[in-house]
C-alpha cells in the first residue's frame, strides 16, 4: 500500500547523522545511451528479526558488470543477494529484471538467472553426474546436448562422476554446483561466496569464467571474502553494506 510513496530516512537524532549508514554507492551507467539495466533494484529495504539491514538501496546492474557486495558478517550481504534473486521479499521496494518487476515475470527471469547460495543444492543420494544433470535439466537445458562428463572435468571432478555425492567432500559438492556455470545460458549470475572451499587454481579458473561471461554480455553479482585477483579495481563495482542502528520511517 505504500509502494509509491516517497520515503525518507529520518535519523533518530542529530548526533547520529554522521553515522547514518547504508553506504550504498549506486552504480551509474557509464554512457549516456546505455540500454536499460539488466537487473535493477529500487528503494530496497530489508528488515530481519526487527533489525534494519539496509534501507533505500538503489542498484542498477548492466550487462558486462561484475559487482562485489561487501560488508562485515551479518550486514545483509546474503539477504541482498537473496532479494535480488527473488528468493526473499524485501520489506519495501522492488527488484526489476529488464525493467519488469520480477514477481510479474518469474519464469522468464529465472530462465536468465543462475543463483548459487551458501548451500550447494547437491543430494548425497545421487552421483555427481546425476546431480549435475538434474540441476541442468531443471533449469531448462536439454539433456542430450550436454556432456556432463566434460563439464565435471572442467571443475576437476574427473574420476568422481559416478561417486555418490555423500562420499565427496564439501569442496567437491561446491564444485558440482559450480559446474553449472560452465553450461549456463543465464545472463545474470548471483553467487554467494562462490570461492568457499575452492583451492587457488579453482579460484583462478572461476575468475576466467567470470571474465568470459561478462565479455559475452552477462553480469555477475557476488560476495566473497577475498578480493578478485585478476580483475582491476576499476572493473569490479562494489556495493558496501554496513551495520546500521537507524530507525526507519515509511
Amino acid at each position: 500500500m505504500y509502494r509509491n510513496k516517497k520515503r525518507e530516512l529520518i535519523p533518530l537524532s542529530a548526533t547520529n547523522t554522521d553515522n547514518v549508514n547504508v553506504d550504498s554507492t549506486p552504480i551509474e551507467s557509464e554512457q549516456v545511451n546505455m540500454p536499460p539495466p539488466l537487473l535493477s533494484a529500487t528503494n530496497l529495504t530489508c528488515i530481519r528479526e526487527e533489525r534494519l539491514l539496509f534501507d533505500q538501496l538503489t542498484i542498477a546492474i548492466n550487462a558486462g558488470d561484475i559487482v562485489q557486495v561487501e560488508g562485515p558478517n551479518g550486514s545483509g550481504k546474503t539477504s541482498l543477494l537473496r532479494i535480488l534473486a527473488g528468493l526473499s521479499q524485501p520489506y519495501e521496494g522492488e527488484v526489476l529484471f529488464n525493467e519488469h518487476a520480477i514477481a510479474t515475470c518469474r519464469e522468464e527471469f529465472h530462465q536468465h538467472l543462475l543463483y548459487l547460495g551458501h548451500l550447494p543444492g547437491v543430494k548425497g543420494e545421487m552421483s555427481a553426474q546425476e546431480n549435475l544433470a538434474f540441476n541442468l535439466a531443471l533449469h531448462g537445458a536439454s539433456d542430450k546436448s550436454i556432456n556432463t562428463e566434460a563439464t565435471l572435468a572442467e571443475v576437476n571432478l574427473t574420476g568422481f562422476e559416478d561417486s555418490l555425492a555423500s562420499h565427496l567432500s564439501a569442496g567437491q559438492h561446491r564444485r558440482i554446483s559450480l559446474a553449472r556455470l560452465y553450461q549456463s545460458n543465464a545472463r545474470i549470475w548471483i553467487l554467494d561466496e562462490p570461492f568457499t572451499a575452492i583451492d587457488k587454481q579453482g579460484v583462478h579458473a572461476l575468475e576466467q569464467l567470470f571474465k568470459a561471461h561478462i565479455a559475452k554480455g552477462g553480469c555477475v553479482v557476488l560476495t566473497t571474502h577475498q578480493d578478485l585477483l585478476t580483475f582491476s579495481e576499476q572493473q569490479v563495482k562494489k556495493i558496501t553494506l554496513d551495520y546500521t542502528f537507524d530507525s526507519y520511517d515509511e
Binding site: M1, I47, E49, E50, Y91, S247, Y248, D249, E250
Partner: protein, 251 residues
C-alpha cells in the same frame, strides 16, 4: 474503493485510533456485561426443562459463536494481507488468535459443565462440542506457528496461509463431525440446543452477546497495539512514543 481506509493503513494512525477506542470499549463492555450477566443469573426465568442450569447458555452460546466469528475474522485479515500486501492486517490476525482460542476454551468448558447435569457426564461427543475442540486445535496451531518464527513478518505470512487452509477446512470438518454424530449417537441424547426462547430470555442474552463482542474487540485492540509496536519497532514514531512513555512512568 480503499480510499476511505487509507488513513488507517498507516500503523501510527491506527495505533492511536485503537488507543482512543480503549476507554469507550471498556466502559461499554463493562456496562453491557454487568447488566447482561446479572439479568441472566438472577432475573431471567429458568428453563422449564433444564431449570437453572440453562443459565450457562448465556455464556456458552456467545462464546461458541464468537469463537467461530473470530476465526472468520482472522481468515479475512489473512486474505487481505495476502492479496493487498496490507501489513496491518497481519498484526490484527496475530492479535485475534489468542482471543479466539480463549473463547473456544470457554465454549468448551461451559459446554462440558452444562452437559454434566444434562447428560450425567462431563464429556460427550456431541457435534458442537467436538467441532469446538477441533477449532481449538486449529487456533493452537496458528498460535504455535506464530511463535515458531522469529521474524514477525514471516510468522504473519505463514500463519495466514494456515488460517486460510483452516477456514476452507472448517465447514468440511463441521459438516463431517455433524454427520458422524448423527450416525453414531442416534436420538437417545438430547443435544445442547436452543430451547424455545421467550422474550425475557432473549433480552439478557442480547446484552451478554453484545457485551462479549465489545469485550473481544477491546482485547483485540490491546493486543493489536502491541503487535503494531513490535512490528514497527525501528520506526521513529515508535521510538519517541516508547521513550516518552517510559519517562512518564519513571516520574
Amino acid at each position: 474503493m480503499w480510499k476511505w481506509l487509507h488513513p488507517y493503513a498507516n500503523p501510527e494512525v491506527s495505533y492511536h485510533f485503537a488507543g482512543r477506542m480503549l476507554p469507550w470499549l471498556s466502559a461499554l463492555a463493562a456496562l453491557f456485561l454487568s447488566i447482561g450477566i446479572v439479568w441472566a443469573l438472577a432475573f431471567a426465568p429458568a428453563d422449564y426443562q433444564q431449570g437453572d442450569s440453562f443459565r450457562i447458555f448465556y455464556l456458552h452460546v456467545p462464546a461458541a459463536s464468537l469463537s467461530m466469528g473470530i476465526y472468520l475474522g482472522m481468515a479475512i485479515a489473512a486474505f487481505t494481507s495476502m492479496v493487498w500486501q496490507f501489513k496491518l492486517a497481519d498484526a490484527s490476525a496475530a492479535a485475534m488468535a489468542p482471543v479466539g482460542a480463549v473463547f473456544t476454551a470457554i465454549a468448551l468448558f461451559t459446554g462440558a459443565a452444562w452437559g454434566k447435569p444434562m447428560w450425567g457426564t462431563w464429556w460427550i461427543w456431541d457435534a458442537r462440542l467436538t467441532s469446538e475442540l477441533i477449532l481449538l486445535f486449529l487456533y493452537l496451531g496458528v498460535i504455535a506457528l506464530h511463535s515458531a518464527f522469529e521474524d514477525k513478518n514471516l510468522a504473519g505470512k505463514a500463519a495466514g496461509i494456515l488460517t486460510l487452509v483452516g477456514v476452507i477446512n472448517l465447514p468440511i470438518i463441521k459438516y463431517s463431525v455433524e454427520w458422524w454424530n448423527t450416525l453414531h449417537q442416534g436420538s437417545t441424547i438430547s443435544k445442547l440446543g436452543k430451547p424455545s426462547m421467550t422474550a425475557d430470555m432473549l433480552w439478557p442474552f442480547l446484552f451478554c452477546f453484545i457485551g462479549f463482542i465489545l469485550l473481544v474487540t477491546l482485547v483485540i485492540c490491546i493486543r493489536f497495539r502491541s503487535e503494531v509496536l513490535s512490528r514497527n519497532s525501528i520506526r521513529p514514531w515508535v521510538r519517541t512514543l516508547v521513550s516518552t512513555q517510559l519517562a512518564a512512568t519513571e516520574k
